[in-house]
Symmetry: C2
Subunit: 343 residues, 2 copies
DNA sequence: TACAATTACTTAAACGTTTAAGTGGAGTAA
DNA sequence: TTACTCCACTTAAACGTTTAAGTAATTGTA
């Protein structure tokens, strides 16, 4: 025999009050006056019977689920999440932590084909959706039609009416590239994942170009590499670059994990880092601290990214800035040095 | 003005049938006979009005939420998930994928203090809970009281009545250690995270001992290291081992990520791998493929682990084996060699 | 021809909350 | 004394489903 769930009715009976009173006590409603003795009776009954509210019922009447959907990029639809890049795992941790602080829970999901994620969101009456990273174009179009609040993390859909959190992507790429230029480098490569219109990668590409232009360095197509955000691509690329005739002396990589692969590939090809080639990464995940040599990189505050996302999503006050841009910091470690025979 | 949600009543009106009929059509109930023309009318109405079912209402009446809770270990309660170990990220991907295949969604959560996770589970009427890895002891005791199905992944609470998925942890550790012995090693170290009673680490420790005993090798306390499952610990340990007087010639590490750190630490101390020290890892995550040298390791099928977990959780047929043990495979790469001057 | 079975529905209660509106009674003001 | 305001509740509808039970028309069987 299935144990019946204890509900408000049971509490009401036990405390000798009506169900409404129980609801008022449990929700600590300020606009209702309840006698202290009654409150005590209800609270005792809750403890005695081990009452746990039924969120489904609450969701039904309030049309509010206390559920936040987080969409994480996947290597392929239906395949692995991009947790091989530690950045996403850390971000998810932060989102979950901050959501729970405010009484919300997190539903995860990968990129879906067509509008099925919105269907999930509606079915579940999600209170908000956080979209991390870049997804197919039509993904965003569908999103516009929903009345569920959306926050975009790390994508540039400036023409679309979404709240967003990002960092100074273009500026940070400029700073990273300038750091290499300041060390005397002029043959500077750019290594990234796929460059898409509304992605951070494109912004970082622009920042890279900015720095070169500022320093009057010619932009060379053969120094611009783009593949996937993975150690595998980085390694492959490292080996390729090592073989290249007019080799770059420094590489700006848009992710630590690519930089990590680059180091592997270059070292495998008997090049020394930073003596032969300087490398700068992006994100400052643990990978950066555990490369050999340790990675000079652009640090972003992942925890804050998650925190702000939840804040923005749950905040109804629309006076607030709807597009938060967080600061970054250049962390100098061992993978960048002055150019050989440099000034 | 907030757009009102389209519900079954609207569909019923549009299709000129009762709400019950709509429900029967939408749920494709085999035990109900509905005229083909009626089905068509209802389906057309659904499309026309863009009806999306309300899962909260469904959950309320059915006491079923189509929601599965996944508890992921955290570095500290309230801190980051252990996604720095890629194994957990991959596992979560698999769980989410397989859950969605069956119409369920995944709610993530970290380890919580006291019984609050169960409270969440009850509030949400979760249809199942998957607990990944090891959690504080009292965590499991609380879990027993619930009527929600629980599946444990990678923990050994044999005395507790939970379904579980694991691999042959003890056996695989024995195989790994034996592999080192077969290569002529006799000074074999064991490097792991914290060894807890019901954890995989303890089982692997036993397997390590099994192999040594089989080969009549004396067990030396100074060869048994345990810290945290992180590259940081591995690196620190590598440096420490390099300085040690009677250094081991091989190390069995219970996680690729520790092995990765070990390689870094040892190389930093000017030892060569595998020439000076052989290393074998565990899990076969991408880290194993991208160490330099590439890691010999024990491969486990992470996708299958997630798949079986969902299967076991959702399967009511209790005739089935309630403790699934998956196979592993030794993957030989570059980090293990015959002992120097060996036979 | 009578009645049983089948088909194709409909009716209405139930799930566990929230909340607007209602109800007495006590206290206060005129 | 009457009227009004608080206080401390209660009543009952509503949220959007599912489903057991009921019904009316049609078909099948003896």
């Amino acid at each position: 025999m299935q144990k019946r769930r204890i509900n408000m009715k049971d509490i009401a009976k036990e405390a000798n009050v009506s169900v409404a009173t129980v609801s008022y006590v449990i929700n600590k409603r300020k606009d209702q006056t309840i006698a202290a003795t009654t409150i005590k009776r209800v609270e005792d009954a809750v403890k005695k019977l081990g009452y746990v509210p039924n969120l489904a019922a609450k969701a039904l009447v309030a049309n509010k689920s206390y559920l936040i959907g987080v969409v994480i990029p996947q290597t392929e639809p239906g395949k692995e999440f991009m947790f091989s890049n530690p950045f996403y795992g850390e971000l998810l941790s932060s989102i979950e932590f901050n959501a729970r602080e405010k009484g919300y829970h997190v539903l995860i999901s990968g990129t879906n084909v067509d509008q099925s994620y919105l269907e999930i969101a509606n079915k579940r009456s999600l209170d908000g959706i956080i979209i991390v990273g870049i997804h197919p174009d039509n993904y965003y179009e569908n999103l516009i039609t929903t009345s569920i609040p959306v926050v975009l993390i790390d994508s540039y859909c400036n023409n679309l009416p979404f709240k967003s959190i990002s960092i100074k992507d273009r500026e940070s790429a400029r700073i990273a590239t300038k750091h290499l230029i300041d060390k005397g480098h002029r043959k500077i490569a750019f290594a990234s994942g796929v460059i898409t219109d509304n992605g951070v990668t494109y912004e970082r590409y622009l920042g890279y170009l900015d720095a070169l232009k500022e320093a009057n360095i010619e932009i060379k197509k053969q120094y611009i590499y783009s593949g996937t955000v993975s150690q595998d691509y980085g390694k492959e690329l490292g080996i390729k670059i090592a073989k290249q005739k007019d080799r770059p002396t420094a590489i700006f990589s848009t992710a630590d994990i690519i930089a990590f692969g680059l180091i592997n590939g270059l070292k495998k090809s008997n090049l020394n880092i930073p003596e032969d080639i300087s490398i700068i990464g992006f994100d400052d995940t643990w990978i950066a601290r555990d490369c050999d040599p340790q990675l000079t990189t652009i640090k972003q505050d992942v925890f804050k990214k998650g925190e702000k996302a939840i804040e923005l999503l749950l905040n109804e006050k629309s006076e607030e800035n709807q597009n938060i841009v967080l600061d970054i910091e250049l962390i100098e470690r061992e993978s960048v040095s002055k150019i050989k025979g440099g000034v």
